[in-house]
């Protein structure tokens, strides 16, 4: 354990609401322990702001365990910061040094308008799922779960794709603000399972259409999405989605 406390120079995006103009603001924060998580560091800043009667920095977070997909910060220009396969809430301050400058901004994309400070509106993702990210089965009495064996290989691949937490880092780090990795992960998960195959064509078509409609950009193979994904969602999902999409379009 390292008990040496750090002092940091923070530059944080402040914006009162979608209607207000935003700007970067400087803060000097001392007393940061290397054992803190990145969000606990922001908590510390907020605690001080509140004590001074200032408005604390608004940011999204909930589970603080890297699974809910709520946290979403650009840290020194990288979605979720410098550590690979790590969400902002799981990033720890031991990866920074005394005296460091840290620039903190919201996830930026046309489809993700800022709500306040570092908080953005990602409801466009829900809209894409509404367009077909499901199996059309009602609650009731489906057949026994073991009636359809699924090869372990496909089950594992489906699970790899299903691990997406919907945080939007892929969109925020893509120069075109494309949502291809997110959308392809859902399409792949369902395409890999027999339960999802019945609707596979219609699903691919309508989800892709919705993705364009709500303002996400095109994919031009930068692969920044994969590099920034905290859950390691693989680019091969995009290839699989394209296959499903062309099957739908040309058959």
């Amino acid at each position: 354990m390292n008990d040496k406390l750090m002092t940091l120079n923070l530059k944080i995006w402040r914006q009162k609401s979608a209607k207000h103009k935003g700007r970067m603001q400087d803060y000097k924060l001392s007393g940061v322990s290397p054992d803190m998580s990145f969000l606990e560091m922001v908590d510390l800043l907020n605690e001080q702001l509140v004590r001074q009667g200032d408005d604390p920095v608004a940011f999204d977070h909930d589970c603080r365990e890297g699974i809910c997909g709520m946290c979403s910060m650009m840290i020194n220009g990288e979605a979720h910061g410098p550590s690979a396969l790590t969400t902002t809430c799981q990033l720890h301050m031991r990866h920074f040094h005394d005296g460091d400058s840290i620039v903190i901004e919201p996830f930026r994309a046309k489809a993700f308008p800022v709500i306040k400070d570092l908080m953005v509106d990602r409801s466009a993702f829900d809209k894409v799922i509404q367009a077909g990210g499901f199996v059309s089965v009602n609650t009731g009495n489906p057949q026994d779960a073991n009636n359809i064996p699924i090869s372990k290989e496909n089950a594992d691949l489906a699970m790899d794709a299903a691990a997406c937490i919907g945080c939007g880092a892929c969109v925020a780090s893509c120069p075109n603000a494309s949502a291809m990795l997110f959308v392809s992960a859902k399409i792949s998960q369902l395409a890999l399972l027999p339960q999802g195959q019945v609707e596979a064509k219609a699903r691919a078509e309508s989800m892709v259409q919705k993705m364009d409609e709500v303002g996400f950009g095109n994919c031009s193979n930068h692969a920044e999405c994969e590099a920034s994904c905290p859950k390691g969602i693989d680019l091969s999902n995009i290839a699989r989605m394209n296959r499903e999409y062309f099957k739908a379009k040309f058959s």
């Binding site: 390292n2 609401s17 997909g69 400070d117 509106d121 026994d144 073991n146």
Partner: protein, 641 residues
Amino acid sequence: MSTSSKLDSKIPEGPVQEKWDNARFKYKLVNPANRRKYTVIVVGTGLAGGAAAATLAELGYNVLSFCIQDSPRRAHSIAAQGGINAAKNYPNDGDSIYRLFYDTVKGGDFRAREANVYRLAQVSNNIIDQCVAQGVPFAREYGGYLDNRSFGGSQVSRTFYARGQTGQQLLLGAYSAMMRQVGKGKIKMFTRREMCELVLVNGKARGIVVRNLVNGELEKYSADAVVLASGGYGNVFFLSTNAMTSNCTAAWKAYKKGAFFGNPCYTQIHPTCIPVHGANQSKLTLMSESLRNDGRVWAPKAKGDKRPANEIPEEERDYYLERVYPSFGNLAPRDVSSRQAKFRVDEGRGVGATGFAVNLDFRDAIKRDGKNVIEEKYGNLFEMYERITGEDPYKVPMRIYPAVHYTMGGLWVDYNLQSTIEGLFVLGEANFSDHGANRLGASALMQGLADGYFIAPYTISNYLASTKLEKVDTENPAFKEALSATQKQTDKLLSIKGTRTVDQFHKALGHIMWEYVGMSRNEAGLKKAIKEIQQLRKEFWNDVNVPGDPNLVNTELEKANRVADFMELGELMARDALEREESCGGHFREEHQTDDNEAKRDDNKFCHVAAWEYTGDNKEPTRHVEELKFENVHLAQRSYK
């Protein structure tokens, strides 16, 4: 003691195996063409609320669904790791509906209603079928069939799982079913909303008031029935494994409108969490219980031994779980293991910088099986531990300590999951129903989905079909009244402009709760807790500082509203713990233990549910009793020696 006349559990007739069938046959049905005339509000989009909203909408009802997060997919259920139980008996190792029922009643230390638990075990199998049909990618064996594992010391392998992300996958299943109904217009989704008041008209639940967390507006919604699936209240302790926004407000406001609160003192403290590192810590992280299958728990024999763990020789280590429970050893149940860790720390034998931790050591397992085998089993957990603590558990023992994890208590509900307010149904962790005084691992996910997919849709239909519901809209004066109560609280909080932050108060409350209403409790401590909480509450309403604009995102205001309710609930928990003069499950009263420090139940006096009725601000609440009858599983003392 006999059951209070205010509590009718509505347990159906017949042998326990036939009760649910009998009930379903007697339930009235709503004609498919008439369902579109009814609206149901569902607060919460976790497993319980998400499943209920989707299913009610599929049946044809109009559903208004609310959650605090920016998307229903982010409810706290997403964080569950281990798995979900069901009585499928795929491994052919002797499981059955009856055995799951039996284990749950016994595990709950005989403080749950048999009829509810049996039904839970019955529908457990449908849950797995339903989830697989939705495309939930459960773990499979090479033959392509579903894999099961044994969890939390269970003697059969009945736990289904999706890597370490079972809650996530189940929730995404329910979420996708919801999104399908949103697309069809049957569910209207309201995200970033927090319910602040329940609205009653002629004694029935007919609507809610919510705060729009983006623009601060207070909004009114009316309906024919209201469902609360708002989760547990573990965050009353400030530090817990719950998500940051998990709170008690929805349930608490319902309590203040007449819904009784059942067994508030029953809290589950999970033995294997990463210990607190410092005063700025915001939450605690659970390390899966499965680690105790191979890790050995120990503390140094000598008090205040500050040497690094690896420098403490074998003969100076106390493997206390193996010593005290030779037959269960490191796999002793959650409540028992947690208490034993606390005893060691209280004796001054805790480890780490703070002294509030014990060791969980894999040295012997690695020596026996090789690093590869351990890595295969627990690699992701070891990685998570290292990420948080900066230490490598392959080389030095993990440090663990118990943390608040789950609340068995919650709003009292009858067999139909209806509270003491007509038309108010409570599902999932928010109700008190199925786990008695202690919940078994992998049973919360099962209960949430059972309530949401398979139970509430029947019982709510029955309510709508058999109740005369006059037309009510948000112009009704009851809505105006509820709205102005909320407005008043907001104005008050913003006007105090005191010297302490909301978090300071929340931490102070958590400290009192952990100290006196935590892992072990006694009369003097509980009385002290009640006094201290009352004092803290006074200070809160005079000295809290809530800055910012109420008409914009204002997270301090959100937290202040939640903490205000936590303080009142904390006091009720202490009262409940004080009145329950026995030890059972997670509730350990120091005055009631056996000679070797085990929990001692008092079935003559306390084989009942305590359901608390609100009687007014600063007035003592009334304690009602629902007698519990054990006709199938016979009362017996739990023993793990």
